[in-house]
Amino acid sequence: MSTILRPGACVEMAHGGGGLATTRLIREIFARHFANPLLDQGHDAARLDPLPPGRLVMSTDAHVVSPLEFPGGDIGSLAVHGTVNDVAMAGAWPVALAAAFIIEEGFPLADLDRIAASMGAAARAAGVPIATGDTKVVERGHGDGVFITTTGVGVVPEGVNMAPAHIAPGMAILVSGPLGDHGVAILSRRQGLEFGTAIQSDSAALHRMVAQMVAQVPGIAVLRDPTRGGLSATLNELAEAAGVTMTLEEAALPVRPEVAGACEMLGLDPLHIANEGKLVCICPPEEAEALLAIMRAHPEGAGAVRVGTVGERAAPGTPGLLRMQTLIGGMRVVDWLAGEPLPRIC
């Protein structure tokens, strides 16, 4: 039984001070749960050699989710999956993660321990070590419990080269599974909006599925994970970057019935709701079937479907556009949402 995890014990300013208390915190919580050869070297900077052959990429993400724990995950597993996926979307194999914690004075150590355990488990399951990290403590009232920033490095294999510029008219738009699970799972725990549902966050690491996809279909134009802002934000960004029109088929969009029900109740649109274990893939149309088959063979890609098509290039000087053929056969524009989607009565 570790010495700092006494019942009721909380994080104190001393834990961030760099002295004995910090060492104990790191050793008894973080090092214990994250244990791996890189971390156990005990250096400030982890040595990542030898690296597999290819181009190096890096990505970082700050996680401030509230509530900290939710159905299907917590800020810890989210921090691991989020950055693993960011790296994977470049077509890269994630090599290692760094994790920085900003913890609020008074945060229960038992909660921190649980989050660290979840993070360690997520990293181990993904096969991506947390190689190095840092901890700071801020005064009470200056943080939301705990903030976690994860940075990941990865290596893009030779021959894999994806970019929005590769998006071309006629390409297929695929998603790896049902939309909106994460956002609804979070909402279901937010005070004032509680409803009973079995919806879990879809937080998951996608790099193994991606590795197979890019290995077998080098012609993929682009991969993105539709997190904050949902599928709408991701496709709007890509349509703008590539200067094309994209058309979705509403009837093809995968949404779980409970997610649809929650959205109907609160007046939300699944297109705008965050996902944490899904990807969007834009590929030549002749490759769509093969890619869907690859995705469906993985648990994270079980519900993969084609949801739309890339249309013509926008006229020079006009922006790209995302639109959708609606359930009844009309056409609507799918615009970026201004800010976070809020439940409405009207």
Binding site: G196, P257, E258, G261, A262, E264, M265, I345, C346
Partner: protein, 88 residues
């Protein structure tokens, strides 16, 4: 205007409350605005209150009229004769 959705009453509770389900999502809501409600009824849900029962008969009638709307006179006559469901 006012966002309201049909929800299935699963269970009644004291103080005119009920558990309802919309597409599998459940919520505790008030049925205090309704005269009588039983599990199995569908109610219109708005901001945590059931405003009205959904009439199953009227719903089906409305859908039937929608299907018939697009048919020509001859097709309508045929429908009336055979009483069959027509794929519009």
């Amino acid at each position: 205007m006012c966002l309201a959705i049909p929800a299935l009453v699963l269970e009644l509770h004291p103080d005119a409350m009920a558990t309802v389900s919309a597409g599998g999502v459940t919520r505790q809501v008030s049925v205090g605005l309704l005269e009588e409600v039983v599990p199995g009824d569908y109610v219109l849900l708005h901001v945590g209150f059931a405003l009205h029962k959904v009439s199953v008969e009227e719903a089906e009638e409305t859908l039937k009229m929608m299907a018939q709307a697009g048919l020509l006179q001859e097709e309508l006559a045929e429908w009336a004769e055979t009483g069959s469901e027509v794929r519009a």
